[in-house]
Subunit: 200 residues, 2 copies
Amino acid sequence: MKPALTRRQQEVYDFLREQAADLHPSPSLEELCRAMDLNSRGSLHKHIRALVEAGLVEPMSRGRGIRLAAGADAPGHLPFLGYIAAGRPIEAVVDPREVEIPAWLRGARPCYVLEVRGESMVDEGILDGDRVVVESRDHARNGEIVVALVDDREATLKRIEQRPGKTVLHPANAAMAPLEFAPERVAVQGVVTGLLRSYR
Amino acid sequence: MKPALTRRQQEVYDFLREQAADLHPSPSLEELCRAMDLNSRGSLHKHIRALVEAGLVEPMSRGRGIRLAAGADAPGHLPFLGYIAAGRPIEAVVDPREVEIPAWLRGARPCYVLEVRGESMVDEGILDGDRVVVESRDHARNGEIVVALVDDREATLKRIEQRPGKTVLHPANAAMAPLEFAPERVAVQGVVTGLLRSYR
DNA sequence: CACCGTTGTTCTCCTTTCGTTCTCTCCGGT
DNA sequence: ACCGGAGAGAACGAAAGGAGAACAACGGTG
């Protein structure tokens, strides 16, 4: 019972997540229409209904807008898969712990948590010991921070730039230079959607 | 048991939270009417009754006042109190929403959430738009990042260094110099215990 | 005490909004 | 052609939101 989202349904869902992450109140159908550049509530309603059946959105009831499903996709915890450092493969952690992650930091697809080792992204505000929420994806948009696997050996955390004929991985550290690869050598494993840091 | 608030009910509830946060006395129905731009007490009373049934507001007594119920915070959530412009100005207005925060980012005492404005802490990995979890405290250890109130006017986010005779607030931005004050002029409001960032 | 204004409460009546369903059209792909 | 995704628009019923009147319980003033 998981018919997979269509293009527009995905757009609507992404927009709802954005809104929620920005602390906006649940929009009504009409507000959503305006935001999505639609002129018909009926059309939007079809998409919402699809999302409800997919378990991603709570069934609407009168007057309280459209809210993301809290129960279905929010066990509140994500698996902690290990550590990631520039230049080395991901160190898988033996004991599969789980980390509590708020819903507004998660992506649409399944997510997991990695802990950052090293200083390769300090200029982007990602420090040693930070935990990043990674959304499992095999593609990325330019400018996103990705977990990239180079030559099936080295997993790194970098900002990605895909250009015709080459893929550039930008570290965010003045002491390191951007790395260029043939596109075939770089496999995107996931995209960073959130970051958490504990002081203590 | 938990019918979820409707649109207007949420507005009324938010307004009451603002009032309470600013030490205003419990308003009467008519005062609330004027504040909410309503012409009828009866209409407002419907919303209040809904809030009472939701357990968010204490039942009114004939004397005077609409009081918030104690301990109505959702579990796993912390109040979002507004913005802290880490540059110079005062702490900003109250925006009484709640943010989901994992337990492992919270401190021992009551906590709240602020959103960071400005670049004064970039070298510590705190960027514009990040949300910080602040534990309410009136003292700090050296090296902790604190919300400090200087001369009862300016709230800033800085790393604190307390030395005999003077208190130094260190911004983490190469373009800004540390600020030195007499200890009496600096009041610690809270200590940063966690940080969250959403990418997208 | 009777008088008055205030405050909480309940009740009708009305308008607006919202979710829902329906039909019809358009476009792109196999 | 066929089909499914996507949008427009109309229409309906139910709920939300609001206005206003009416009423009981107080608190003061004369």
